[in-house]
Point group: C2
Chain length 328, copies 2
């Protein structure tokens, strides 16, 4: 039943995106649409639509707003891949590898504007005050995500990052778009300010959990599951919670090995694997517990709201569980 | 009197931009604010505010919307400079030269979102239907500008471009943001649909004229006036109206020289100058006449509207005249 619920939403989201991302400058729209065809879990639109359903919102507006969020998310992926020099995403060459950096920058910009176009259509005819609030959530999210990406890049060049700094960074870079999704769903579903806030918190807590699990999978999943090269986080010098914890706990020799290979784009497969093994030894359990803790806090938020739609509530719980138990 | 009119607007626009483009991730906001400090004519916000004044709009909303347009314009400059590999803008190193490509991509993205944030504030409290229309003008403009930039890049790799294709490209890449500015000014000034359309047309015609003059200055102005290296359009293989006309009129030997140096990033100063001289010989008068023709059509549009503010009308005429007579 939850499968059918998700599938119906996914069908509408994908059709909406396909309908909006087309135009008469062929290569630009091809490059812009490319990543949608490569897969993706569509977690954010699913959360937005389920949040709207949960409070009794109009489905058609939620589908449009959900599509806007997915389009926005895809723009950030395209630009992040250029900045991080990533070559694979969802098992396919990244947009800038396939179409070149200039076209990838432009495709991201087009999707950024498209996201606003779709959101504008989602809100058309609603009350003025609500439209303004919705755009504020959306723009705030992008600004905060950009700040998070800047911090993430700055952290690559810094030797020591605290757990607090890491959490602040993933709050911005990842969790903010989760919380914007659930808040938007609740808002356009005309929920009370209190319910909007609680669903926003649910999204934020789940988003933090999601990113921690993502960092774990970067060291534990295989290349096919990841859809990108193994240990790319280590190669790029990403200061994940696992790296931070391991640097705190490892002995001097192990610490030396980690620091030598972290951010070293010429490190060999063996060196990367050795580094990953040390990191995992000290931090895997800790990271899983941390993710689980945020997951449970998220569930508490969800349980504190009156559900107007039982299936939507169960769907949100399912997504929350998937977030911490997934293998990709 | 017109000077005082412009200066007051400029002061408010610059203060608004300074007020919005700040935040606690230092390098990101520095890179984002950098180009505003390097100068710039602020033509688009001036046109937006004067259009709003012309129809009797609220100045404070126009200042915010004008700031949004300038911030949007600046985002496109930062990203275009990366795509075109330009190293100088307004006499200063471009953002990606100063801060690196990743930070420049991110700064552009931040400004893109900031533009929407500022526009949202400009529209706050207005009627729902007007908010939706304003966001539609804004998003349409960005989509069309992105298409124009894609065409501009594609044209670099094509040998032959028609005058019609060129005009379509600059319509999108340049004129669209002029027309969006005047249309937005009229719309938030609560002008009738007819007046909004006429001011939109005024902006579009003037924008075409502006770009033709820009292409002329690329071959006739000196480096200081341009704020960028001489003949960079030729080096980048830009298919301007002057190049198109010259290729149509030149003899075989001259044509060979043009095609040899156009888009050749290794061409010497002498080769670039020789090419520019040939192009100018055949196309300078033609291009000036074409720009003048659009300028006059723009003035006709402006004269077809009832002016509620004489000074604002004169200011728009002044901007129009500046557009075709400027030396930088």
């Amino acid at each position: 039943m939850i499968d059918a619920y998700f599938n119906e939403i996914l069908k509408d989201i994908n059709a909406t995106i396909a309908n909006y991302i087309k135009g008469n400058v062929k290569e630009l729209y091809e490059a812009s649409y490319y990543l949608f065809q490569a897969g993706g879990k569509r977690l954010r639109p699913l959360m937005l639509v389920a949040s709207s359903d949960l409070v009794g919102g109009e489905r058609i507006r939620a589908i449009l707003a959900g599509s806007a969020v997915e389009v926005l998310h895809t723009f950030t992926l395209i630009h992040d891949d250029i900045m991080d020099q990533d070559t694979l995403r969802r098992g396919m060459p990244t947009v800038h590898v396939k179409y070149g950096v200039p076209m990838a920058i432009l495709a991201g910009d087009l999707l950024h504007a498209k996201a606003f176009q779709i959101l504008n259509d989602a809100l058309s005819g609603m009350e003025s005050n609500l439209i303004t609030k919705a755009f504020r959530i959306f723009t705030d999210a992008i600004l905060v995500i950009s700040e998070g990406q800047a911090l993430d890049m700055q952290f690559e060049d810094r030797k020591s990052i605290s757990e607090g700094e890491y959490l602040d960074m993933i709050n911005r870079k990842t969790a903010k778009l989760f919380s914007a999704s659930t808040a938007l769903g609740a808002l356009i579903g005309k929920a009370s300010d209190d319910v909007v806030k609680k669903l926003e918190d649910f999204g934020l807590l789940l988003g933090i959990s999601f990113q921690i699990v993502d960092d774990i999978l970067g060291l534990t999943a295989n290349e096919e599951e990841l859809g990108k090269p193994l240990y790319s986080d280590i190669r790029e010098g990403k200061k994940t919670i696992l790296v931070i914890k391991a640097l705190e706990m490892a002995n001097e020799e192990e610490k030396r090995i980690i620091l030598q290979n972290l951010g070293n784009r010429n490190a060999s497969k063996e060196e990367l694997k050795q580094t990953a093994d040390i990191i995992k030894k000290y931090s895997l359990n800790y990271a899983y517990e941390l993710a689980d803790n945020y997951y449970k806090q998220a569930l508490d938020k969800l349980d504190s709201i009156e559900w107007k739609n039982e299936l939507a509530g169960k769907a949100l719980k399912y997504i929350a569980e998937f977030t911490v138990k997934r293998r990709k």
